[in-house]
């Protein structure tokens, strides 16, 4: 009879993020059924003893957990194989279906992509869903941030290097006034929406500089009471910081199911943009003291981990 199962190792292989497929193959695959029974009896967090009928059944959450963890690699691969435009279109559609709490995804897609990539996502949206992205968002989002979101996805920003300094300066003043006086309603102020959803990113960077000089505080320091507005500013002005923050949140062991999915999304959607990825990696290292690759090695297992590390190394 083969050796008894090494419980700790096996438990380790199916806990946390991702699944250690190799360990499961070697440790579980050739195991004897008596040893598996012992494993089930010993793993009280995964299985519960039905004493009356004399068998050990799975906890519901165990089945769900396994399904989720096994699927991370699957989802990452499918997403990776997809055209970037389709990826982004599907992300926006999913966010709309989920509701208000996923509005940040729409901000992320519309503000961190290039003008051509955002346009491509809108084209893909036509093709996949027989509607325009803006009409879907406009009809499903209610409340004060609708105009901002519709404006952000409709933008086709100038990407050249001409900036009108005096406009940037006057608009910095306008923005400063709006966030100071309007609390959470800043997000629906006409001028705020206009500036954030039509100006080029370079213009906004110049605006950022002027804002900081006028106010003596950083525009990116959570300056408004509207989280969506703050996120939009961060995505438009310093995407590497934005991405570092959400990557870190997703790698936190206590993070919820939704947050953990951010890891796949960010790495898969940004891996092709080497320059950006380099910036994200640098920013992450500066902020958190270890490299993204290290953090992933520590917290993730199996094929999912290997895939993510491979994506990361494209920009080394």
């Amino acid at each position: 009879m083969a050796l008894p199962l090494e419980f700790e190792g096996l438990t380790e292989a199916i806990s946390g993020m991702g699944v250690d497929e190799k360990a499961l193959i070697t440790k579980l695959g050739s195991s004897h059924k008596e040893h598996r029974k012992l494993f089930r009896k010993a793993s009280k967090s995964f299985f519960v003893e039905d004493e009356e009928r004399a068998f050990e059944k799975c906890h519901d959450h165990f089945v769900k957990h396994l399904k989720l963890e096994f699927s991370r690699f699957n989802n990452a691969v499918v997403m990776w194989a997809m055209h970037p435009w389709e990826r982004d279109a599907r992300l926006v559609k999913k966010a709309l279906k989920k509701g208000e709490e996923s509005c940040n995804l729409i901000v992320e897609v519309s503000c961190t992509r290039s003008a051509e990539d955002l346009l491509g996502a809108r084209k893909a949206y036509h093709s996949l869903f027989d509607q325009s992205m803006e009409e879907d968002i406009a009809s499903h989002v209610h409340g004060p941030h609708r105009n901002l979101l519709v404006g952000l996805v409709s933008a086709y920003r100038y990407e050249g290097n001409k900036v009108k300094e005096d406009s940037a300066k006057s608009e910095a003043k306008i923005l400063a006034e709006a966030v100071a006086s309007s609390g959470e309603e800043a997000v629906e102020k006409d001028e705020v929406v206009r500036i954030l959803s039509t100006r080029s990113k370079l213009h906004l960077q110049h605006l950022h500089k002027h804002f900081n000089e006028i106010k003596g505080s950083d525009l990116l320091g959570g300056v408004s009471e509207s989280p969506l507005l703050n996120e939009a500013l961060l995505c438009l002005l310093k995407p590497s910081l934005y991405f570092s923050k959400i990557l870190d949140a997703s790698l936190n062991k206590e993070a919820d199911k939704t947050t953990k999915k951010w890891l796949t999304r960010v790495l898969v959607t940004r891996a092709d943009h080497s320059d950006e990825m380099k910036e994200i990696k640098e920013e992450y290292h500066q902020l958190y003291g270890e490299t993204l690759a290290q953090r992933i090695e520590e917290n993730i297992k199996g094929n999912y981990k290997d895939f993510l590390i491979t994506l990361l190394s494209k920009s080394d």
């Binding site: 346009l119 809108r122 084209k123 036509h126 027989d130 509607q131 325009s132 992205m133 803006e134 009409e135 406009a138 009809s139 609708r146 105009n147 519709v150 404006g151 409709s154 933008a155 086709y156 920003r157 100038y158 990407e159 050249g160 001409k162 406009s167 006409d190 206009r194 959803s197 039509t198 100006r199 080029s200």
Partner: protein, 317 residues
């Protein structure tokens, strides 16, 4: 249908460029020659001529035209020679400048072009003005006009024929309620007009007529005559549903008894000659009992008249 007449065998772009060059030589300009060539070439052909002219003579054809021609004729030639995307970008840019500002032109460009034509205009705008169209429109309009025009120029409408009849019914009802209360600038009205596909919008207003017994445009006549926003809203709906009728109205005001608005006349003829000027002409005749060409020749003269007539496909060339 287009009115532009192009013969089945046109000279090569370099022959055309050479001929055009001769039109500029010596004193004065041979406008007839310019009309006979440019007035009978498609957008693609005009693009090649412009390129070839530049390669051969080191000058932009448009700059030369600018130097040699003047007034209405020049304007017609200029607009005509530009590529459609550049043309729309130019019209939109002018419409944001103080002395030539026009909410109507902005709406017209945004609503009577296809999604990809509008996109080309936005791309051309980047290249020509080093800014985005929407940022200029946003910066130079205010209040309700901005609320309507920015989404209109930023739209990238779905272009399929699929229509959701349930949605059409809902949105027709919504619009009816808002209009009853004279909330013309309502967010949902603007949302529907600026994001839905044209097929969906048409279905919605057909539903509106079925359910409420009158056409939407009739309902919107009940408002204040001086309400400019209401007028713009009416034109927006007309552009999205029956653009040819909108253009007939523009032409009628342009060619009325008390003088001619050459700007509008030139704009409509040059932007629609390759699209639907024939249909517009037929509608014009239906409503005014006089062919469009006659109305134009009565009110214009010289090379300007000749150019317009050529674009109408009514000259003998």
């Amino acid at each position: 249908m287009a009115t532009l007449k192009v013969s089945s065998s046109v000279p090569s772009p370099s022959d055309d460029a050479e001929q055009l060059r001769t039109a500029f030589e010596g004193w004065g300009t041979n406008e007839d020659l310019i009309i006979s060539i440019l007035g009978h070439r498609s957008a693609e052909q005009r693009k090649l001529i412009r390129q070839t002219y530049h390669e051969t003579y080191g000058e932009d054809l448009l700059k030369t035209l600018d130097k040699e021609l003047s007034n209405d004729f020049e304007r017609a030639i200029l607009l005509w020679t530009l590529e459609p995307g550049e043309r729309d970008a130019l019209l939109a840019n002018e419409a944001t400048k103080r002395w030539t500002s026009s909410n109507q032109v902005l709406m017209e460009v945004a609503c009577t072009r296809t999604s990809s034509q509008l996109l080309h205009a936005r791309q051309a705008y980047h290249a020509r003005y080093k800014k985005s169209m929407e940022e200029d429109v946003a910066h130079h309009t205010t209040g309700d006009f901005r609320k309507l025009l920015v989404p209109l120029v930023s739209s990238y409408r779905y272009e399929g024929d699929e229509v959701n009849m349930t949605l059409a019914k809902q949105e027709a009802k919504l619009i009816h309620e808002k209009i009853k209360d004279k909330h013309y600038n309502d967010e949902d009205v603007i949302r529907i007009l600026s994001t839905r596909s044209k097929a969906q919008i048409n279905a919605t207003f057909n539903r509106y007529q079925d359910d409420h017994g009158e056409e939407i445009l009739k309902s919107l006549e009940e408002g204040d005559d001086d309400d400019k926003f209401l007028a713009l809203l009416r034109s927006t709906i007309q552009c999205l549903t029956r653009p040819e009728l909108y253009f007939v109205e523009v032409l009628r005001s342009a060619i009325n008894k008390t003088g001619t608005d050459e700007g509008a006349l030139t704009r409509v003829v040059t932007t629609r000659a390759e699209i639907d000027l024939k249909i517009i002409g037929a509608e014009y005749q239906r409503r005014n009992s006089i062919p469009l060409e006659k109305a134009i020749t009565k009110d214009t003269r010289g090379d300007y008249e000749k150019m317009l007539v050529a674009l109408l496909g009514e000259d003998d060339a």
